[in-house]
Symmetry: C4
Subunit: 278 residues, 4 copies
């Protein structure tokens, strides 16, 4: 009995390394297969929504869906079994998504139409970020991440301005254009304002009165100026980081190993070591 | 009588601190409630313009409108009573908006349809900028503000160029396309030019003759180059400020006066002076 | 007779200062009136193309057109008479535009419909650039001008790439989509490609087959990357100039007056003057 | 016989210099004529797809097509004959394109409709990049190339994020909007998401339910922030290169070795050394 327990423990440990780790060959293979299954499941859900395709191959699609759901269920159970703190995994972001990816299929036995909720499986694609940890990409995505985080404060202030502007412009356009041209309510006018300010411009609603077109022209030109701001904010942060990267090619301090010093430094700013080699 | 006067004076002073100030707890609470009421009033006006919603809940909406108008009226009177120079407030930007926010509702008793003018209430949202003075955001919004102000000169020159270009391109397109494809007049053609140059592209007017499409292609490609300019202007200003910010918060080295050292330096990299103040 | 000649010469000289100069009060007034007349004439031509407006006020518009044409004719004659080298003016860019601005009106007496060509008057707006020489704007517009000129080489290479790409993508989309969805010919497909790559997106032509939509998605995403390039080019040049501007606040060399030296210079790079004040 | 062989060898060598080289006058002339022919052939293929044009001039177009195909065939044979390693050329990118440019025309004798495949000729335009090697442009295009290559890592990470976002947003919009408003399947919804995120905005599919419009507004505003990223990445790289360029072309001061001096300096600003070489 104790032997069985120790056997099970060894299996748990081994499975844990394969499922959660990426350092062993088996672990990487598991990740690759999982990645393939996730992509396949997303493609399946997509195909099911294409009417012509679904008509022809409905039974095959459903079969494949169940096979993938089965595999995902096994994976989910293994993840719970082989980890030391199962609740922590189950209540984590990825744990919830993993559950949501299999739940709709089982619910569809009892309730009609819930199988469409399997689209939440696409969220499992986020797992790709964990799998794709090639050093080059991690450093690049880290830099981008930092730049976007550093821009957050300014972006919030900016979006705040934009939202108030859209309400005010939307209200004005509602008064000017009236119900005939699609500006049927203030929320619809605000929707039009956002479509215009972001230069998307569907054309499902567009001003028809000369005054409305004049104000719209004004909004577009001003809007382009306004919309330049987030680009400016993000660019400035990325540029700062791209610039800093140049300094990376310096030789580390021979005393403490840091590379974080001005280019014309005579002393290491972290340990006081003199750089004077004469 | 004198006692009543002094009582009133004390009330005025107290109310003033609450209404105009943000340093006391009661003052901040007043601002928060006011903020909530403004948001609610804006949502109400929006909802009233949505036909289906208005049909169902018209009487409720009107009742709520009158309650909010009443509260805003009380607030407006209090603001006048408790301030020392009421005329200065009443003729200020915010004072006028506060009046315009309540006036249409009272006018609607005598004139039909003026209640729609309550949309000017959305301008009261601008008050949010006064209320939201969390230090982080003020510094960020200050930086953005400075960058946009510094860009003003270049942006004006740029818009001036764009406006003249739109008139010239609009005139050419009017001659080329003629009245069949929606280019019914030069102002309409100019509207189309602005829609195209800003890459909004509604598609309500679009060239149909081969020559018109050729010129339009030319306008789009050139236009994209032109439109890159405001982004460039704003980005350059923001980048300058993002870069400068780093140096601002540092004290110069007490030994050699340099500010050119990493933020977490323990020694000055130029003279080796120790920053350790213990 | 000689007195008449000298009187005429004095008139010519005086008129020349008023018409071509901007330093005297009369000269500036002349420019302002001319500016007003040009704007008025452009507005008139625009109004004439608006059908409802033209129907009501046709005779007034024509009368005003003739008055302005008369004034522009007098101005044109005065410009020729009062200048020393009339041919140089007449064959200059502005000279030709000034002639083109009055010619169509006179031709309309003999040929029907040529009056519409008065739209070339909008080109006279370019004269505004001469009139608006407020120092602040000239410096700003100079900086912009330099940045755009410096970007020219890269922009040409970029547009060259884009044009070849549009031909290739356009050809592919023509093969894929076929004539039903508006991709009636390769030139039409190229027009669609430009509309898509510049993110204008009218929607007058849009892919309908799944494969066409897939390729279009690919074009949009790649296109956005491509289209980021001109913004990058212009921004980099403007940023360089905005940055350089900082250096302007340095003290000029006391010997030769230049401000064009590195910040930590010990000697003036133009005259060799030593900056060492000790 | 040996003489004939040596004559042929001399011809081969001469032809090789003309066809592959650009240093001789004949070589440049050959390139220019080839360039003209390629442009003409592309224009021809385009014209053939314009129905009205093709109806009128079909026989002329076909004749010209055959003449150009003949010339291209001669060129292709000459390229093979005159080069030492013909297989290397034939299996190279340009070699394959050169073959594909002539093949469809010959195939059209046996199979109907293959002549349309001559559109691949537009790929021959890429040869222009080889021909256009004016030093100014090569340096500019090199700089752009480097900037785009350096951005590659970040751009891939970014596109990866965008693709996953489009799948998730597309799935949500499919659930929210349903089949009535054009969101007929998840792939169609993803197509709409890409059209919206890139601010192209055709308007062939657009949300109609209030919730759909609300989510769309959210996508647009967030999307604009996201889409600022590639611009930021490319701008930062170009800015770095634009900045660096200044220093590249200068020789260091022969006295103190600095490169930090204005371009038209006569004296080194750091040591006062005279740059006057006379």
């Amino acid at each position: 009995m104790a032997e069985l327990k120790s056997k099970y423990d060894r299996f748990r440990q081994k499975a844990n390394v394969i499922i959660y780790g990426t350092s062993t060959k088996a672990g990487r293979l598991f990740d690759l297969i999982l990645l393939g299954l996730i992509l396949l499941s997303v493609v399946l859900v997509m195909m099911e929504t294409v009417a012509e395709f679904d008509l022809k191959y409905h039974s095959y699609l459903v079969l494949l869906e169940w096979i993938i759901t089965g595999l995902f269920t096994i994976e989910y159970i293994l993840r719970i079994i082989t980890i030391n703190k199962p609740w922590k995994y189950m209540s984590s972001f990825y744990g919830i998504i993993d559950l949501l990816a299999i739940l709709p299929m089982y619910l569809s036995i009892f309730f009609m139409g819930t199988s469409i909720l399997t689209v939440v499986r696409s969220l499992r694609l986020l797992r790709l970020f964990k799998i794709l940890n090639h050093p080059q990409f991690t450093s690049q995505s880290l830099q981008l991440n930092q730049a976007i985080k550093a821009s957050k404060g300014k972006i919030i202030v900016f979006i705040y301005f934009v939202l108030i502007s859209t309400i005010i412009i939307g209200s004005i356009m509602y008064l000017v254009e009236g119900k005939e041209s699609g500006f049927t309510s203030i929320p619809a006018s605000i929707y039009w304002t956002i479509v215009t300010l972001t230069t998307v411009g569907y054309g499902d609603i567009s001003p028809e009165t000369p005054l409305g077109q004049f104000i719209a022209s004004f909004v577009m030109i001003l809007g382009y100026g306004i919309i330049a701001v987030p680009t400016g904010i993000v660019t400035a942060e990325i540029a700062k980081r791209t610039h800093d990267k140049v300094a990376i090619h310096k030789k580390p301090c021979t005393n403490c190993g840091t590379e974080d010093y001005p280019e014309n430094a005579n002393f290491c700013p972290h340990c006081g070591h003199s750089f004077d080699t004469k």
